[in-house]
Every structure is written in C-alpha cells, then in structure tokens.
Amino acid sequence: MAKVVFSTWRGERIDNRGKAPEAWEESAFKLPENYDEGTPSKAFIGWDGVAIFREDVDAVRLATEYAATYQEYSEACGRCAPGRWGGRILYDLLDKIARGEGSFEDVEHLREVSQTMMLTSKCEIGRTVPKPILDLMEHYKEQFDACIAEQKPSIHYGREDLNYIAKVTAPCIDMCPSHVDIPAYIEGVRDMVFTESLEATRQTMPLAHTCGRVCPHPCEDACRRANLDEPISIMELKRLGADYETDHHLGFLHPKDPKPLRNDGKKVAIVGAGPAGLTAAYYLGLEGIKVDIFEELPVLGGEVAVGVPEYRMPIERYNKDIELVTSLEAVDVYTNHRVDAERLKELDAEYDAVLLAFGTRLSKKVRAENEREDMEGYWGAIAMLDKVNLWNKYGIGEPASKELKDTTVVCVGGGFTSMDVVRCSVREGAKKVIMLYRRDEKTIIRNTTYEEYHEAVEEGVEFIFHAAIERIVDENNKLKKLICNRYELVPDPDGGRPKLEKIEGADFEIECDWLIPAVSQAADLSILPEEWDLKLTSWNTLLTNGRDYMTSRPGLFAAGDCEYGPMTIVNAVGQAKRAASVISRYIYDGKVSLTDEEIMEDHLNKLKVYDKNEKVTGWMPGIPRQVSEKLTVEERKTNNKEVNLGFTGEQAIAEAERCMRCYYISMVAV
C-alpha cells in the first residue's frame, strides 16, 4: 500500500533500513507517501506512530518539530496540567537535544513526562503526542545518542530545507463530510459556554440548527467512545449552541468577524439556495466576496425547506440558519428565479465563477409496467413534499390533506425521502399508509436511522419488505391498484452478497389511491447548455474530481446533490465549503488550488483516522449514552410539532462529559 523505509503506524513494525530494495516490506496503510502531485513526502508522524519514506530523515528534528506542532496547536487543547506543561517540556527537552546541548538525563526526563502525559492527559492529543516521539527515540536511538554524546546539532537542525505540515483531526472530525470540529463544540456544551460551542460548529458548518436535528451523523459511526461502550450522541449536542443563540435573541455569532464587502468587481453566482448553496455563500460572504444566489422556488433553503418536514426540522429554526447567511453584507438572494441553460450562460459570462448547487429535484420512477406520470394518483415524492411543506411552513398553495385525507397511500422507497413521505401522509390524514421496500428492515434502518424507522412504525405506517411493484393498474387513467412481487434473499453459494430473487406465485395486490415513488432523485440536467458538453458521472450528475469541485468547464463548480447524487445535508455542506475555498482563490488567480489544511484533510481521510479495533484505556466503561425525549405517538401523529425535544441541559452535560476528546496531530515532512 505504501512504500516506507520505516513504520510503526498502527502497531506495524517495518524496518527496511539497510535492506536490498527487493526485500522491502510495504506498509499496510495508505500513508501519504506523496504529499501533493509531484511532491514526495519524507516522513509522516502522527498519533499512532511514525512512517519514514526516505533514508536520510533527521529523526531528532522530526520529533522536535512534532512536539513544536503540539505547542503550536495547543489552542485546540492546553486545558489540563499534564498536557499544558508536559507538551512544553517535551518540546524544550527535544530542542535541547536537537541543538546539541542535551544530556542523557534529559532523555530520562522525556520518558518520564511522556508517561505522565500518556496516562493522565485530558484529551487524546496529550495522550498520543509522546507515542511517535518515543518510537523515534527507540528506533533512531543512534541519532539522539549522537547529538548528546558529541554535543552537536542534528543534521537538519535550524535548516529550513524541509516543510513540516501539520493538521489536527479526530476520528469524528475526519468522518464528518463537513469536518466539523466536534470535540470543540462538545467542549463548549460541557463548559456551558454555548456561544463557543456554536462558533466551533460554524467554522465549517453554518447550518447548526439543521445539522443538530436532521443529520444522519456518520461521525457517530467513527466515535471512539463506541470502542468503550456507546458512541456519543454527537448530532444532538450540536443543537445546544444554536438553540442558545436563538432562545436568547443574540446576534449571529460568526466563527470570525465577517469581512466588509470587497467591492473589487469580483463576484460569484450560486444556483440553488439549498444547504450547498447557502454554505458556499456563507464562507465566501464571510470573506467579503460578493455572492448572488439564484433560487427557483419562492422560498430559501432547498430540500431542507420543502423536503424535510416541519416535525423533523421546524422552519422557524431553519430560517435562523438561513438568516445567518443572508444577513451577510456580501450575500444577495433572488428567489423565484429559475436558471435555465440560457440564463446559466449569462451568469457564466457575467460572474467570475458560478457554483451549481441545484440538487436533485426530479423523482425517479419505480420502473413498473404502466408507470405514467400523468396518471391520476401517481405523485412524485418531490412534488408531494413540496406541496406539504410549502403549505405547512409558508402557507403557500393548499393543504395536501385535500388530496390525502382518508386515502390509501403507497410509497416505494427506503431512504429518508420515503420516510418523510409516509410520515407526512399520516399527518395529512391518510387512512392507510404503506411503505413498499425491496430489501429488509435492517437495510432500511441502515439507510435512514433507527429512530426514523421506529417512529414511522409507531405512527402506524405499514412496512412491506422484500416487495416491488410489477404493474400499476388504472381505470380511466385513475390509479386503482398495484400488482406486486415478493422477493427473498438467496445466499450466494460462493459466499458473495445474497441476491434478491422473486418468489414465484407469491404476487399480491394493493388497492390504493396514491402511489408515491421515492426511490431516488435525479438532477435536472436540462439547465446545462448542451454546447458546454459538461462531463457527467455515470449516474448523471456533474463530474468533478471530488477535491476541488470544479466541473470540466473552468470557472464552473458544482457541489451538493447535483454533483454527488442524492446524499446528506452534511455532505452538501462539506463539498460546498471546500468549493467556496477553491473559488475564493480561483476568482483571483484563475488557478484551482487546495490549502495545506485541505490537502492534509484528504490524506487523513484516505488513511482513515478511526480504528474500530483500537482498545480505549483510561476511561470508565458502561456510562450509557443519553437519549432525548420524543413526543409520544398521540402527541405527534396529527400535527407538525417537532418530535425530538432535544436534550435537557442535564442530559447534554452528562453526554458531553462522555466525550473523550480524541484530538490527534499528524504531520508530514515534505
């Protein structure tokens, strides 16, 4: 996987020094042997060991730089006695040795202070920083000994010939597509300084209300606490800061003071005011770069506004996230402004960069016989949710209950959108609501959340698993019934993924008034000028390299669902944040570039920060995860009140105290 001279990464012991090239052992990990295109790395050092890529590395300097980095990054920590003083002593002692003034006694003190840091530090940064340093002291002992015995500086001491590029991360931060500084916002809750919590979130995530409520929290799958007992309830803790700001009517807290509008003639157009568009606008706007957002709908917010129902994401709270963005001087929005191919060409000409963030708003078909969009009773999920939400949240249009009351609704899906469809149908008064899903219960839970599925069942939604529609039956173009097939999972005799196979003779019928397909959504590609001949992915979304988010047309960027395909809010936010960063440079120098921070982010993501097999020590196991109160079925079924009441203060603090603050430092020598 990676060619190394030496590695102790994740417990491996590779030492190729002095070996013939053909005898070299490879590392099992995707270590960053090349920092950037054409720039090979000399060494990588991090929380779980060290990897050396070149024979001539100065191990003493490397250790010293790593300790120095800990000093530099201590703003992320420095809040416990062992970490604060220990880190400083570690660096001072290493620097003393590196400059040729050290003694063997210093080595002993290094070991002693390292042990105290590793055993008693508050966060993982303090517990892990000594590890690779001790590895170097052990395996490159001769270099340390030489510095001490001969009282001379290490080979590279004081020379500026290498770049040491460092980054602080954590398993949860790495897994979060927006790379939210999760331990920091949790610490804000633990400290009860909710403003700091919110500011930490907003460094990379402007939609704190939203992602404190409806994020599917991939971070929780990478929570080290799970190695001990249960993962931290990361997502719900995000709400605290945002609710504090709103409840106390504070002005908007920004991660840094918004810069005044630059007025230098540069401007960026964003197509779509959903999570991706808002996020890009926010981070560009904070820099004072002029942004205009064009939104087709009469309201801002994209699918979170017209897709996610009120009972999951109250619009009054989402509007606060939106206002955060639109309150910026540099940001202007134009609603009811459909961008078509002609308009896009105008924008492309008029603006220094255009970001496409129009999502995927075309409902895909279920692919049954006689499936026709013009059939009465056939209603795409996007259109249905638009109607429900525009009425419930904004009073636009008419109530969907006019159509759905006392009817039988069948939804075909399995993802979040389908859950929204069935639960909204319940609330709009449908007498029977059925969810048809090809796979099983376990998969639907994996694709959504346990809570979402469980709550839908409680509300009376009937789930039919292992089923699909074969044919739609109409009478005078009015939907009558569905002919369905039943499937079963047949294990692959070769040990592969089990296959879905139709059970012959097990067909069944459902009489119904509505069929709402919510299998997936597609991007509306008609807005792309044909002559641009933009490269698309195999699933018909805009193709980028997934790192800088520029499409095949220079100056045209894409982020969110129209780039990735229907995915999560947090994914759209993460992409848009990155795109905004790239755009902020592109509009000045015409180059597509990433910052060191972003390059490291990608390296770490490839390397994987979370290790589910790691044994956690120094924490008391068995402290249960807090669970917030939800409205009972009776309290929620017939209205749009927010179902999840969120943590009480007491619960939030208890949950925040479970966080182990798994900050890590990694560094590449280039």
Binding site: A81, W85, R88, H109, E112, T617, L645
Partner: protein, 761 residues
C-alpha cells in the same frame, strides 16, 4: 422525562476496600467524599460541574486499563476502586512537579501563602526537587478593579472561569488557550460584571486576589469570625477575617470577607462591603437615660429591617411594655402581602428554595429587578439557565440587558399593572383541571382583553409563555418587591398562591430588605408612625443609629450576635466581628424593666407558632458538611393547612401612570446606607435612565436635577445608561442615610423633575 433506561436510585461500589453506596449519577469522587475517603484534587470545586483540568484525582479501577478521572467518571455498580498506590502517587507527584514549573518562589509575599492548594499539595506529594524545566515567560499582573490577576501564579485550574459561567452567569472570564501560554482573560469591562469576587474566592493559588487586601496580611494571622451577611434577605454565609489594625493600633479591624466557596457563594456587597461598623460609640450614661426616656414616652417605635430576630423580639417586648406601636416601613407591606399569601395558600412559607431554582427548567419572574434586588437568586437563575437550559421569562416594566444570556422571553408590562399581570399569569399557568370550580369560573370570567390592553401584555406573549411550559418540568415563579406595596398587593398574593396551589409552579418570594421576613414573623406591625416616634435606624424624634448619626449609637450588624431569617426560611446565626463600645437595645430594655442578660437569650423565645424552634443560640450549628449539606441554624417549620382557601378577586381598574415615572432601586452592590458606607463600595448615586427616558423627560446626560420621591427630596445627577431601554428611570436610595429605611410606598412613582444645572456645577 421518559427515562429510556430505568435505573435504580443508588449504586454500590468498593473504594479502598470499603463498600459504599451512593446516589445513581454521583461521581466516584463524590462517593468517596461522602464516605470520608480522600482523593487529592487541584481543580475540583464542589458547586460546579467537574472541570477536569488538573488530573490529580485519577484512580485505578479493577478491570479497567489506565487511570480514571474520579471527579468526572460516574460511580458504577460493582466497581472496585483504588484511590492510592505507588503508580498513582508517582503520576500525581509528576503533575505537582509540572504545576511547580516556573511557579514564582515568592510565597513570602503571596496573599495565598498558608492557605494555598499548590503549597499544600507540593508538600503532600513530596516535591522536594524539580526534574522538569521549561523556558520562563514574562506575564505581567493585570488589575481588574476589585481583583488583581497574576498570570505567573495562575495554574489554569479554570475554577474562576467556571464559577463565573455556571454560578454567576456573567461570562466575564474566559480561558485564552495557548498551551503553556494559556491565561485567564476578562471578556469585558469588569465594571460591567456582577463584581462578586467569586473568581478570587475559588482561586486555589494567589493568582486572583483582592486588590484592596493585597499585601496587607498573611492568611494565618487572620481570625475567621463566622457570620451571616445582613445586606439583603439572602443571609449568606461568610467569615469576617479580623486582626489588629496596625503595629501601633491593636484595635481589631476586618481585613476581608471570605466564604465557604466550595458550597456557597457571595455577591459583591457581601464580599466587599464589610466595614460598616459603628466604630466611635461610647457608653455615655446620660445618653442612655435620654434614650430610655424617649422609649417610655414613644407612641411609635419605628425600626429598620436591618435587625436581628432577637432585637426585633426585644422591640416587640418593649412595645408591649410601653404600649407603643411598632412600625417597620420596609416590612409592613410585605407582612400584609405574606398574610394574604398564607390565607390563600394555606402555607406559612412558599415552596421553592434556591436549589429548586437552580434545577428549574422554566422560571418566570414578576415584580423584581432581579439583577439588583437579589444577586443570589439571579445567580441561581443563571445556574438553571446554564445547567438546565432553563427558559427564563422576565416580566418587568424595565428591560434588563444584563440578563440577556439568561432571559429567553422578556414580558414588558406597564408600571402599576402588576395585579393585572398576576391575573394573566394565573390564567396562563394554572392547570384549570386542578383548580376548584370557583377559581375556574373566576379565571374563565377574566376580561383578558381588558387586562391585556391595560397591562400591555399581549395574548401572543402569553401564548408563547404557555408554549414554553409544554413538555417541560420543574417550574419556578419568582416574585419581588414591586408587589408588596402595590395598592392591591393582597389580591396579587392570592393570585400567586393560586398559581402555586393549582399549577406545577413553585413560588419563591424575595423579601424586600435584609431581615424583613424575620421582622414580619416576629412583630405585629402598624401601618404608619404616629405621635412621638423613636427611630431605630430610622428617622424619628429620638434616633438610635448604627450609622453613628443619631441621638444614641447602636452596634452595626457586624458588631452583633443574633439570628436572621433568610428567604429560604432558614434561621441563620451571625457573630460579632468587631467590638462595640456603646449601649445596645438590651441595655435600654433592662432599664425599661425587661429581664435579660444578652440579646441572644431571646433566641429560644422566638415565636414557635411562626415556625421558630426553642434552640439556644450557642446550640445553633453553623457549617457545611463534606458534600455541601448546609447545617446553618435551622429551617423554619413548614406549616400547611388543608382548609378552604381564600381565592383572588377579579382585578378592578388597573393603575396606570403618565408622565415621568421613577423606579426605586439600588444598583448592584448597594443595598442600604450600610453598604454605601464601606470603603470599597463608596460610589455616587445617580438617576439612571435610557436615552428614550432622557428625551421624554427633556434631560441630558449630566444634568443636575431635583425631585421628590417617596417623600424624600433628591438632588442628584442624571446619567443616560445606554444599556437601558424604555421610559422608566431608576432612582437609588442608598445615599439617603436612615431615610432610606423609612420608605413604604410602591416602587414606581410619577415625579416632577426640576433641572438645577450641570453635574460639574
């Protein structure tokens, strides 16, 4: 709350071989302390959530690898804990070595020396040599007004920041992270914080010290006199720390006030306003004679509520003997209010205490400018806001931006409309299903439209309040001084009693001044002074004054022993910190033929029917136990009577004021002429109003003005307070001497303001 995982109430575990049982949710450290097992800490502070910065409290748990932070990690059923051993000692010793790195070795001139946690633990862990070193840094001392901060001495335990955030609610301190360079910073002008000095009280080292006290004494030279603060009705625990004034003056002097900061808290008035003693008093037999004569002929004995229970009882006995009427202007309205409350609620005392407020999730306040009226209550609200995410609905005619980080809904009502607001709150908060038919009928019959229009509290605001209650629990209604002298105070009391009886709200009543609750229980007060009046710390024909400006001197409260009743209904003892050279009320009483040796002879005689106990003063406990249990004096016996209760009546016409309206309220640290007299709290009194008020009253910042409020003539400077809003200005009384104790009117009043030049003229 629907607990998903039902847990038993307690857990049992083993600590150092001892089987201990503790409440579910307690930490290992708490379980240990409850059982007298010692675990060393540097950053642990009982009254806040665990900080976890020092890592000294690590312990070993059988079957768990690594060292476990006992202050934060919960006691788990069956856990086997070891709190000491070679490995733990070594790591703790190393932590102490780290703390000692570059800590200045100037204990000889450090205020903290002798009571310093760093000194103590350095010795305890036998750090007799330093194996670690780091480059020293230049860290200049900061002066923050009352407080000085020396970052070189700071160990970054974070107790101060956490206390300011979680207990005080001011967020005035923050951690500026920077690893080895980390420091504590103030986030704003500290004249804008509560100036309570709690940050320095909790500081375990000499980093935060009193600017005034600095370098004046070694800690071990000071004698701690246990006492209770008498400035307001909180009756907080404190120690007056006393020693001789100087080498050539052996007279004792109070050098500072400290408190049991681990469990209790003080405000700035309590901490910095201590030298209000009546120093010069002498025993002149003629003056005593004159005083006795005055009492003999007095038709009225008028007194201030800054008085012990015993002296209040003594005045009652004297009055019984001489036939005089007793008048306490500060307490009279409150007594009427409380009697109406009793009659309506069936209880002698309201049900909420400070701990309940701290744990509340919804708090409604009515009729109090909380920040200034009752610092401890405000702190409790702050704690609820932080820990419990409490929704705080602040109902008052004057918005208070200092409370923004606690208040979630500000309900502004018209001055004078308190009765209407109480009725609206009753209609909103009372659970109609629980209310008796008659009350239900009354509430249904309320003319909400009229009440809403006259009080200016909209129905939308009430709907929002109602929504706040949804799915929450632990509710508190806090009421204050604005109500007690309202023309319809008694009906207001009945509405509040109804809320307490027929909703989930508990009521907290803030008495108007220091021992007004005690006075109202002990004395039967008359409405107003008539005829020849002896003033005890109030104006009169013959004046006895602890301020030293009367016909006869009296000892100040820091020169007296006795008890007070605080607003939790706790009878707390206080002890004299300084000697007093003059005559006391007891001397007069004896002359009048009452038999007593010391005033505290009366402690066991306090009226049992009001809940007092027959306990001798010297038998009153006065301490907090190892886990913070308060054993100060005793709680008044709670009385509940089940019989038919008196219901409120529908409010008739609501009061309203036109023109210039002033609100009587002392600022932050001032409560009375006693606080105003102390050397650290001396300040000029201003009339403070918003820019809007200034415009309406045609005043400019710095105008010298004259007006009459509550029968007192004022001439003072007007200042615009940019943090204020609205059309009501705030007028303090702390600079009015004994007159300020003789006010019994409603707090809002229309006045006519006359200009009399500029501030500097």
């Amino acid at each position: 709350m629907s607990e998903v995982k039902k847990m038993s109430e307690t857990v049992t575990l083993t600590i150092d071989g001892k089987t201990v049982t503790t409440r579910q949710g307690n930490t290992i450290l708490q379980a240990a302390r409850e059982n007298g097992i010692y675990i060393p800490t540097m950053c642990y502070l009982s009254k806040v959530e665990p900080i976890g910065s020092c890592r000294m409290c690590v312990v070993e748990v059988e079957g768990v690898e690594g060292m476990i932070l006992s202050c934060q990690e919960k006691a788990v059923e069956g856990a086997v804990i070891r709190t000491s051993g070679e490995d733990l000692f070594r790591e703790r010793q190393n932590i102490m070595k780290l703390y000692d790195v570059n800590h200045p070795l100037e204990c000889g001139v450090c205020d903290k020396s002798g009571e310093c946690d760093l000194q103590n633990k350095t010795l305890e862990f036998a750090v007799d040599q330093q194996t670690f070193a780091a480059k020293d840094q230049h860290r200049p001392v900061k002066n923050w007004g009352f407080i000085s901060y020396d970052p070189a001495l700071c160990i970054m335990c974070e107790k101060c920041v956490r206390t300011c955030t979680e207990i005080i609610g001011d967020d005035a301190l923050a951690i500026e992270t920077g690893g080895y360079k980390s420091t504590i910073v103030n986030t704003r002008d500290l004249s804008d914080c509560a100036q309570c000095g709690e940050c320095m009280a909790v500081c375990p080292v000499g980093a935060l010290v009193s600017t005034d006290f600095k370098y004046t004494s070694n800690a071990w030279e000071l004698e701690k006199i246990p006492a209770s603060c008498t400035h307001c009705s909180a009756g907080c625990q404190l120690y007056y720390e006393v020693k001789h004034t100087s080498i050539d003056n052996t007279e004792p002097k109070i050098y500072r006030v400290t408190n049991e900061f681990e469990f209790s808290t003080l405000c700035g008035a309590g901490r910095f306003g201590y030298d209000f003693e009546n120093r010069e008093a002498k025993r002149d037999p003629e003056k005593l004679e004159a005083a006795v004569e005055a009492f003999r002929k007095a038709e009225t004995i008028r007194f201030a509520s800054t008085i012990s229970n015993e002296e209040a009882l003594l005045l009652r006995r004297i009055a019984e003997k001489t036939g005089a009427k007793l008048v306490c202007d500060e307490a009279r309205g409150f007594q009427r209010f409380m009697r109406a409350y009793r009659e309506a609620s069936g209880r002698n005392l309201p049900t909420a205490d400070l701990e309940w407020i701290r744990r509340s999730r919804v708090i409604v306040t009515l009729g109090t400018r909380l920040y200034d009226d009752a610092p401890m209550v405000k702190f409790a609200v702050a704690t609820a806001s932080r820990r419990e995410k409490a929704q705080v609905v602040y109902c008052h005619p004057i918005e208070d931006s200092r409370l923004q980080n606690q208040v979630t809904q500000f309900v502004k009502y018209e001055a004078g409309s308190e009765e209407g607001v109480a009725a609206l709150l009753a209609a909103t908060l009372i659970d109609k299903a629980k209310a008796p038919l008659e009350l239900d009928t009354l509430l249904n019959g309320l003319d909400i439209g009229y009440l809403s229009a006259e009080s200016n509290v909209s129905e939308e605001e009430l709907d929002r309040l109602k929504l706040t209650l949804w799915k929450r629990q632990r509710f508190t209604l806090i009421v204050g001084e604005d109500l007690y002298n309202h023309p319809h105070a008694e009906n207001i009391a009945r509405f509040l009693a109804a809320i307490e009886n027929y909703s989930d709200f508990k009521l907290f009543i803030i008495p108007p001044a220091s021992n007004t609750l005690g006075v109202s229980l002990i004395c039967d007060l008359a409405d107003e002074a008539k005829g020849y009046t002896v003033g005890v710390n109030t104006p009169g024909e013959f004046v006895l004054s602890a301020l030293g400006d009367g016909d006869l001197d009296l000892p100040a409260m820091n020169q007296q022993e006795g008890t007070l009743v605080n607003y939790e209904g706790r009878v707390v003892p206080t002890h004299p910190a300084l000697p007093y050279g003059g005559w006391e009320l007891a001397d007069i009483a004896r002359e009048l033929g009452l038999e007593l040796e010391h005033v505290i002879d009366l402690t066991p005689q306090l009226p049992k029917e009001e809940g007092f106990r027959a306990v001798a003063f010297d038998d009153l406990p006065d301490y907090f136990d190892a886990v913070g249990g308060e054993h100060r004096g005793y709680l008044l016996e709670r009385q509940e009577r089940g019989e038919a209760l008196r219901l409120p009546e529908e409010p008739e016409e609501l009061e309203s004021y036109d023109g210039t309206v002033l609100y009587r309220c002392n600022p932050g640290k001032q409560f009375s002429p006693f606080t105003a007299k102390t050397h650290q709290l001396k300040e000029e009194a201003f009339l403070l109003g918003s820019a809007q008020f200034a415009m309406a009253a045609r005043l400019e910042d710095g105008d010298r003005i004259r007006f009459v409020q509550d029968g007192i003539e004022y001439e003072r400077v007007f200042r615009i307070d940019t943090a204020m809003k609205g059309t009501v200005a705030v007028n303090p009384t702390f600079d009015r001497g004994l007159r300020s104790f003789a006010i019994s009117s409603y707090r809002f009043s229309p006045v006519k303001i006359e200009k009399a030049g500029k501030a500097d003229e």
